[in-house]
């Protein structure tokens, strides 16, 4: 019958009518977003709804003393004040550990703490009122005594004698440590021709979603159900969390996310203030809304990437990598974040260092410690930009030590394109990567000779420019090996239900979600392609636990690879069903027919036989005219989960061309290139924009974004005037190229594309800055690369 095969998917419109996969179809939901007609959680207004505001801890670490609420209760509009003890009556604490992360420990976390505040910005007391303004007035009228305790802020001293043990019941501040070791690292270093080393720092930063965290919880006493409107990436996961913490049946909880304004991993975690909102709704029997403001976002959204890494690399005289030896330390705040845990980022560093290269001897340790700062957890490209900066920073140091071209040393060490399947020294299994094809493609795009000539000429005028390269791998399409095996109720499987309505229009509901990146657009393309209809006829439903198949949501770049394959399979199943029905109506063999742009046609010759509209009319309204035994459900569901490989790895390589002003320490980004291989590209425009947006976020971490704390644990960057996000004026021209190595695990062949830009950009920029500074004898390895740090490296300031 009508086979959709890996080979046919890639065909162009000319060769394959009704082809949408691989085409830059405009996003159906984009006009809604840009015309202000989207429905974000804050746009949802429910009858009898209350608003909440939180008193947040002013101290990094303090004992919570008396809580005086009388004055707050007297504020007009204030309805009720909730303390930690009030919430704990209906809501259980959680402990964020995963069983497969051996030895991991963390303390129980309550929505509002009972006795101690452990980071500045932690929600302590909630005020419910008729409006948010009244709730804030109520918060201002609260009198809470905080008895300050010494704060443990420096991760380097977290395990030292004399450290403040943040949770005494844990014994110490160690959350998790893991060492991966293969080969004989000591011998490799002893035998090395050159050994290079450096200390790298990646700055603590955060996701800054355009729409802040938002939630409305509505407990209906009449039927005992909790409906939660939530700005989240993982509605089914949150359904389970709310049910478990509030001691309800999962089926009595419904999570709805309409439009979500950006996530970047920020909205895939359990936040204590959001769970408190659900608990308050449960107690009050009324809807309760909480919309974080920007101030709260900086203090209470998860942070990420607070790492210090010592790295060493041994190479032989030909520039071949002999061994990597990496020691990573990360501070994650006072609690591991539920349910994904805050040990994953460090664990990823262990999994990913040296990732693009073919070598034998590897040692990497991560040490994950507690500190009195905002909790950290998974944020776009979890661990990748750290591992890439360390790996690629060391590769450049080795090239310099050898007097070798940075491109040449990479060419000599990148895993060969015919070496797959391949298992890395860290134990990662790669199905198929394209490092050398990607490097070749990059070199077609980057005018290296012209750049080097320009660089030499500019230097003669005292202008310092540099070119930096960074190869990377990216982990996408995770299987249960990421969270499920650790005991977390986070689905690695996803499903899609596709149906045809009487007028021939198609509705598909999917367990993956949309946060602005275009998930719904690619699902529509895939379903249109699979069924054989015009993409305009396809409507997509996501983000509702009651109406979509159970699934994991969108994170770790799984939307296209997992959700897309489920959509394709269910669309193909529906097409088969339609052809069976059409065959009965037309008295033709189903496999002699095809569906093209909403019409049943003869496969041979293409003559139109009937429209889907007509087929729908007969099935739904004149079913009496069809054979009795004919199966006529015009609805199909399929699920997909990866089985062969724990993760679908992708790869790519980036280049950055910068100018550094040695007088001011300012870095100007001149041009940026990225070649990536995400397997099958469903929508080239969306993939390119994902790569560009990802690069911009990587630039943020490299040059601007930094959650700065003072030694006492006070957060100093609490507004967008102090926390610098990358802005359009400073962004370079970006060029994106592709190599396509589809995964054979699915028919669609798509891997993830959302994190590649972020994974590689900081390393490329670091190498470019250091290339520019090389004649001046300066080097920087501490992100963000601020004017201050560059001037220090130059010795201009002490």
């Amino acid at each position: 019958m009508n086979q959709i095969t890996p080979a046919s998917i890639g065909l162009s419109r000319e060769d394959l009518p009704n082809s949408y996969i691989g085409r830059s179809v405009p996003r159906p939901n984009a006009p809604k977003l840009v015309q202000g007609r989207a429905t974000y959680t804050d746009d949802v207004v429910l009858p009898r709804m209350l608003h909440t505001a939180f008193l947040r801890s002013p101290c990094a670490h303090a004992r919570i003393g008396a809580i005086e609420t009388a004055a707050a209760m007297a504020v007009p509009g204030v309805v009720r004040v909730f303390t930690g003890a009030d919430i704990a009556k209906v809501c259980d604490p959680w402990v964020a550990t995963l069983d497969h992360l051996k030895g991991m420990k963390s303390a129980p976390q309550y929505p509002l703490p009972l006795h101690r505040a452990t980071w500045q910005g932690e929600p302590i007391v909630a005020v419910l009122a008729e409006t948010r303004a009244a709730a804030e007035d109520g918060v201002a009228a609260l009198a809470v005594t905080f008895e300050p305790l010494p704060a443990q802020t420096d991760m380097e001293s977290a395990l030292a004698p004399g450290a403040v043990v943040i949770h005494p019941e844990l014994g110490d501040n160690l959350v998790f440590t893991r060492t991966a070791e293969t080969g004989d690292v000591a011998a490799a270093f002893a035998a090395a021709h050159k050994v290079v080393e450096a200390r790298f720092v990646t700055g603590r930063h955060t996701g800054v979603t355009l729409e802040p965290r938002s939630i409305i919880a509505d407990y209906n006493r009449a039927d005992g159900t909790l409906t939660v409107h939530h700005s989240t990436q993982a509605p089914h996961m949150m359904q389970g969390v709310f049910a478990k913490q509030l001691r309800m049946a999962e089926g009595d909880v419904r999570v709805i996310c309409k439009d979500v304004g950006g996530s970047f991993g920020i909205k895939v975690h359990v936040y204590p203030d959001e769970v408190a909102v659900a608990a308050m709704a449960r107690i009050m029997g009324r809807p309760v809304k909480f919309i974080a403001d920007r101030f709260e976002a900086f203090a209470s959204d998860i942070h990420a990437r607070d790492h210090r890494i010592h790295g060493r690399l041994a190479v032989d005289a030909e520039g071949r990598v002999l061994a990597f030896d990496v020691d990573d330390l990360t501070g994650i705040g006072p609690y591991s974040v539920y349910p994904r845990t805050s040990a994953i980022e460090g664990n990823q560093v262990v999994n990913l260092c040296g990732g693009p290269y073919d070598f034998r001897n590897y040692r990497c340790t991560t040490t994950v410690v507690l500190q009195n700062k905002a909790p950290t957890c998974q944020y776009r490209a979890v661990g990748h930009p750290i591992a890439t900066a360390v790996t690629e920073g060391l590769m450049d140091l080795a090239a310099e030590a050898l007097g070798m071209d940075p491109i040449e040393i990479r060419r000599r060490n990148l895993i060969r394109d015919d070496a797959y399947p391949y298992t890395s020294p860290a134990g990662m299994r790669f199905e198929g990567l394209s490092h050398h094809a990607s490097l070749d493609k990059l070199l077609q795009m980057v005018p290296v000779a012209r750049i080097r000539a320009d660089q030499a000429e500019a230097r003669s005028r005292g202008v310092y420019r540099g070119l930096g390269i960074a190869a990377f791998i990216e982990l996408t399409n995770p299987s249960p090996f990421m969270y499920g095996i650790g005991g977390a109720r986070i689905s690695a499987q996803d499903g899609c239900t596709v149906r045809m309505d009487p007028d021939g229009s198609i509705v598909a509901s999917s367990g993956v979600t949309e946060q602005g990146q275009g998930t719904e657009a690619i699902l529509a393309q895939i379903v249109a392609h699979g069924v054989g209809v015009a993409v305009e006829r396809v409507k997509i439903i996501t983000g509702d636990t009651q109406t979509t198949p159970y699934g994991g949501g969108t994170w770790a770049c799984r939307g296209a690879g997992i959700g897309g394959e489920a959509a394709l399979q269910s669309a193909i199943a529906l097409k088969q069903q339609l052809l069976d029905v059409a065959g009965a109506m037309l008295q033709a063999a189903p496999d002699s027919l095809d569906i093209v742009l909403g019409r049943i046609v003869d496969k041979a010759g293409g003559a139109e036989r009937m429209t889907l509209h007509e087929l729908g009319r007969i099935v739904y309204f004149r079913g009496d005219t069809l054979p009795r035994e004919l199966q006529r459900e015009l609805v199909q569901t399929r699920h997909f989960i990866t089985k062969e490989y724990p993760f679908a790895f992708t790869n790519g390589i980036q280049a950055s061309w910068v100018e550094v002003d040695p007088a001011t320490g300012m870095v100007k980004l001149l041009e940026h290139w990225c070649v990536e291989d995400c397997g099958r590209i469903v929508n080239p425009m969306l993939v390119d924009e994902q790569v560009r947006g990802g690069i911009v976020q990587g630039i943020g971490g490299a040059l601007y974004e930094h959650c700065i704390y003072d030694a006492q644990g006070n957060l100093l960057t609490t507004t967008l005037a102090d926390y610098l996000v990358p802005m359009s004026a400073e962004m370079p021209e970006m060029h994106v190229g592709h190599v396509e190595t589809p995964t054979r695990e699915s028919l669609l062949g798509a891997k993830g594309a959302g994190e590649a830009g972020t994974a590689g950009a900081p390393g490329a920029i670091m190498n470019a800055i250091n290339d520019a500074l090389r004649p001046l004898g300066a080097r920087v390895h501490e992100q963000p690369f601020t004017p201050e740090r560059i001037l220090r490296a130059l010795g201009t300031i002490a």
Binding site: D293, F295, A663, T719, L724, M727, A729, E788, L791, I797
Partner: protein, 288 residues
């Protein structure tokens, strides 16, 4: 955060303003472009009883040449300053400053009166006002009072206005032959890490009345007396510029901030000194 509860009143004449002051006293806060004030309200940094919107008062608008003085109404928006022909002709430093101030949306609303009144030490216009030896025209029921810009910025976010006074205009003596502004900011539109607004004349090959005013490096715009003395009466040369740079050790004691330590800011001030003054080396030589 939501704004605190307050009342709003729109004045359409100065008389309205005086009446509001008389009726409500210190609880009145003047609202001009709102680009600073409204943001601070959203942080609940201040809780005014009444916002008095002055943007519909015609007397506070307009740019006119009055003899040797350019009078710029307090409500002149940054965007207007940037494109006004009289400003370009007689006080081009102000026009040159505009692209450094924030972003277009903010420049469309922010006013020169608001910028001067707010007295942000990193703001461009206060520094330009001092560099150009401008005079701030304040008014109250008692009439107008002229305050030299160099005496107007009294401390961090503090000005010399008395209670019951507002800024109605700023008067700029027609600009000396040389004036320029430069700054180092992390991103375009950010407040400067360090900036310099400089003005001077060159007479018979010698520097006359130099005014080097640094911003982002102190508790207000800093007129660098020692650096100016290092230039005054001397030809503008690599040596005199180096002397002015060296003198900044005396003139500047920048507070450290999130961008870096005091030493870095002083270094950036020296870099800007060279960048601004070096650009004038040729005209000086030509004049000599």
């Amino acid at each position: 955060m939501k704004w605190p509860a307050m009342t709003y009143h729109r004045a359409t004449s100065l008389a309205d303003v005086w009446a509001a002051f008389a009726a409500h006293g210190p609880s009145v806060t003047i609202l001009a472009g709102g680009q600073t004030l409204l943001a601070t309200l959203a942080f609940r940094l201040s809780e005014p009883g009444m916002l008095l919107d002055i943007t519909r008062i015609p007397e506070l608008r307009g740019i006119t040449l009055q003899g040797q003085v350019l009078r710029i109404g307090a409500l002149t928006r940054h965007v207007e300053l940037g494109r006004d022909l009289l400003v370009r002709q007689h006080a081009p430093l102000l026009a040159q400053a505009v692209p450094h101030i924030a972003h277009p949306a903010i420049r469309n609303r922010g006013t020169i009166g608001g910028s001067l009144a707010y007295a942000d030490p990193a703001a461009e216009l206060p520094a330009c006002a001092v560099a150009l030896d401008a005079v701030v025209v304040a008014a109250s029921t008692a009439g107008e009072r002229r305050i030299p810009a160099s005496a107007f910025f009294t401390d961090l976010l503090q000005n010399a206005l008395a209670p019951g006074e507002i800024i109605v205009a700023v008067e700029i003596p027609i600009q000396p032959s040389l004036a320029a502004i430069d700054e180092v900011a992390r991103r375009s539109g950010d407040y400067a890490m360090a900036g310099l607004a400089a003005a001077m004349r060159v007479h018979d090959g010698r520097v006359v009345a130099p005014r080097l005013v640094y911003f982002g490096v102190g508790r207000g715009p800093v007129l660098a007396g020692a650096a100016c003395r290092a230039l005054e009466g001397r030809p503008l040369t690599a040596e005199s510029i180096a002397a002015a740079q060296a003198a900044l050790t005396t003139d500047l004691d920048p507070p450290q901030d999130l961008h870096g330590p005091s030493e870095m800011k002083r270094h950036l001030a020296r870099v800007l000194t060279a960048r601004v003054l070096n650009a004038w080396l040729r005209p000086t030589e030509m004049a000599a």
